[in-house]
Point group: D2
Chain length 330, copies 4
């Protein structure tokens, strides 16, 4: 049994707390949220004690792992505190909106042999994972091109947007991690951004639509497209082309029902609405990987470096947007 | 070059005439239709002479093959005349609505080594043909079950229905031929009929919906379903199950476009409207097989016997409807 | 909180026990199995006490509902005992292999206002359920035809087969219930059976493949096909045709990955292997419906009568097989 | 009846010649090819006279339209000659490999009110055309993103490559025209190129794989990916995303057959092999549009300017490759 605490009881924190509670090898021992009501709601749901402070969690000998699902600006101090208390960490992405701060954090903790896993949940989606395994097994030969489509059903609240770090650090970062997960290290990035969805987003100095081209060090090319709007649900697809063929991970739906009428045939449901639905299994598998890693002492992956690298690519994409040029990742 | 005449210039006769005209190895020499205007319309379209009589066709030394696409009751006399004039024949199904008359026709012509091909066009559909070839090649192992779905977009005119011979001899006969094409000779038949589409059809003593179960001599089972109504087009599908898997021939559409909206995703066009669209290629291939058979003297298939056997199964299905029992094909 | 006991800790009993344990409104209080080891294994898994006898369960005031997942021959006595102890019951299908005994059971318990739900799990499959709701909402107009495909991946053990009651009472009974669920009461049945999969099944006097035709009292027609063998997984599909179109519930897979190579394109995974995988959600929803029914005192459905009626149709289908005729359901 | 001559009897010239010969409103009067055997082979196939020279064609009063399907370097002189002879022209793409020469050609002929149609055959593909019509009809709201996938089954011969003008002017030019066809004028281009398929192509100074990002003047973004290799056939797909959904044009196959086995399910045929198969209907429709335009005197589209603009985008993409930056289309 692995003792776990969850810090941050918002939308994603609740998922993690529920998944810890359901895991046969884990015990959810403490919850914490600076917003007391949020912590108490989860506490009531799961019958778990609310910690009076972060310190109560970090000083508990029973707790081996800490899940961090708090606002982004608290990630770095929490990671540092948890690592120096000897806890394994599962931290939601991004490490920080500021690349230098993320790197400085690493410099500070690196000596402590930190065990930090980054919450790139899509790596644990069964379909994306199967695609990668079959790709690496050689089912389509050497990788030549990856096309990633990723569209949110609707823009987040203005308040969320204000603190999001912008489309590239908030949303595209997932696809940049997926690019690395599939094609390895990236050598070059180019980005186009646009404001097509909501003029409010432009007012915040942010974009709502983008296309990226990447070149991997392996030579493979990649394309990413993102939008804050998607009428038919949360569009999450990958195509990976190799010398011998293509692997495709398609969208998913709640049922397998098709409608055939005089208007349209084989019409399916909208795709799963958003990340809570689409990545429900991914969040369970991610948590299970963390528990197993803590329990067995094995590698935690994706790790802190993966978090830094994805952020670095997002920053490079922003530079490309501004400069109108291909940016080399040095 | 093979000289061909087309007798009957209605809906299907025109298709055959056009296909003969377009075939590189055939010459369409004469057309005939008892309705002079029909013949003249095709004549104008294709620049081909209208024969003054059937005799002009049968006595022409240049004509090696005759395509018969006239009303059903004229098939038997025309086949007899053409065979005794030494012509190869491609005759639309059915040979006749009356099984005894069809058999008597055979008895009369059999001595003349007749070369008669029956117009079961679906045998030439590229998808059904590929399904059969792959089935026979063993891609799914020994055949165990066939499921045939066949639905017309809308009932024919009351006048057509009155002379159609009823659902089983007019429409199901195609599926009964397909059953034999895929599973060989049939041992037993059971049928349910219903009036669900149009009360006028019931007034004519006919049914508009049916389900059939068949057992092949090989032991395989088969299911057929038919309806005179299908909102989304001409539903024409086959599934063939073997010990090692299944082969499926799906519906077809004019474009490959899909629509994804907040209501429905991956919604495709209605399926091809009716036989003229769906079996356009099948009619061309059927005609090409006939031309080749005439030219090279090889086997013409499906042949007269296939026409008799499909009719025999339709008659047995009617007997099952009336008697409420499984009917053995002796 | 609803107190529940599970009787029978085999393959399906374990699923039910796990689902009770996971349900937020239920408490799994006791387990029982005549095979002590089976009960103890589940007990260890779930941390739940093993009852010393059925009586301990039936006499416990805390237990409101009993899940019966024992061998078929014990269903009737257990239902009777549980009902007379005032417990609500969720009993696996079939009630009994013998129609008279099932009816006698009802006669005995009917006076006690029994609350008995039958385990026709497929009614709770999200896709089949959505298909039915959309059908009843009129999305395809009045129902005219239902086609049910149901194939097991491989035959069960000879021992299972010996006590199964035969293909129609063991396997087809699910599809007969689905027929009633979609089309209401059935008026006529015809069946063909065959031995195509395993000669051992014939030696047991059983069949391994069948096709059924049914006519509903509403006038709609239905087709069922069953096999004890399916190379590509557990084939579970439904098509429902109405005046205005068709609803189709397709097979399901563990991932959405497609492979495109020089051999084949858009190739998907095998379908979910068997009922544990395909109906995992259905079992959860079924159990949830039972818990809710017990808790709120509402209707439990499908009920005892549904169990009797499905069995009656299976018996009628056997009669059709033997007599080679359409059998009327009186 | 419109009199037509075809100049150039290679792979594409033969298609055009056959389509002219089959068109009910056109007469194929003369053929020409500098390679006499090529002209004679087509002549024999279609029973059409071979012209002794281009002049014979241009001076024939019966010929209203000339189809140019010769090597690229002859396009400009042939267009000029045909226009000054008063003929309408259907010229294969590209006008020329050199943008300046193409523009100079226009300057020379513009005064003559030239009627020149460019052979961007994909605009006439029924699926792409339907996608565009439905897009413009507003089925998915305002256009935000287009994703074009275009992969050849295998690299062309080294000889072809040597005179092709490079991947971008030879292959991508079709996708650049499609980009304009769907999204209107283009404002910015970025390209990545790679050598992943065949080292011989690199030796020729060419690339075999590329990804392009484009921004339309409307604000919409576009992505193109190209490869000289595709194991499963000629991959030709478009996705167009709007505010209210997405339209997708999928790949096409010769049959609708699916294979379901223990390995894979719903596996379809490879997609249509190459342009001759995939765009057979597009070539027919393109030719029909040309004939109609000649006959009725209406607009010929795509026109000379479309040819210049697509070439201009290809040149800009090359500049982006070399300069590692976004290139503005002025």
């Amino acid at each position: 049994m692995v003792g776990i605490a969850v810090v941050g009881c918002g939308r994603i924190g609740r998922i993690h707390a529920r998944n810890v509670a359901d895991h046969p090898d884990a015990r959810l021992l403490l919850l914490f949220d600076a917003m007391t009501e949020a912590a108490q709601r989860s506490s009531a749901e799961l019958g778990v004690k609310v910690a009076s402070s972060i310190d109560e969690i970090l000083s508990s000998a029973e707790i081996a792992g800490v899940v961090i699902a708090t606002p982004t600006e608290t990630h770095v101090p929490l990671i540092k505190a948890a690592v120096s208390a000897g806890k394994a960490v599962l931290c939601e992405k991004p490490i920080d909106l500021d690349l230098d701060r993320a790197r400085a954090c690493w410099n500070e903790i690196a000596g402590a042999r930190p065990r930090v896993m980054l919450g790139f949940n899509r790596r644990f989606d069964p379909s994306f994972r199967a695609l990668r395994e079959r790709l690496h097994r050689g089912e389509v030969g050497g990788l030549e091109l990856v096309v990633i489509t990723s569209r949110d059903p609707a823009p987040p609240s203005r308040n969320y947007l204000r603190h999001s770090g912008g489309l590239l650090r908030d949303m595209t970062i997932h696809d940049l991690d997926m690019a690395r997960y599939l094609a390895g290290e990236i050598a070059q990035v180019h980005a186009f951004g646009a404001n097509l969805v909501d003029p409010e987003i432009a007012k915040l100095g942010d974009i709502d639509t983008c296309t990226l081209s990447l070149r991997a060090k392996s030579g493979a090319l990649l394309q990413i497209s993102n939008s804050r709007r998607c009428a038919y649900g949360y569009d999450q697809r990958i195509e990976a082309f190799g010398a011998d063929g293509m692997l495709q991970a398609a969208n998913q739906r709640a049922t397998s029902v098709e409608l055939w009428t005089s208007e349209q045939t084989a019409a399916r449901d909208p795709v799963l609405h958003f990340f809570l639905e689409r990545y429900a299994q991914a969040y369970r598998s991610e948590l299970a990987a963390f528990i197993r890693g803590v329990q067995e002492g094995g590698v935690l992956t994706p790790d802190f470096t993966d978090g830094v690298e994805a952020l670095r690519l997002a920053v490079a994409a922003e530079e490309s947007l501004r400069g109108g040029r291909t940016v080399d990742i040095l």
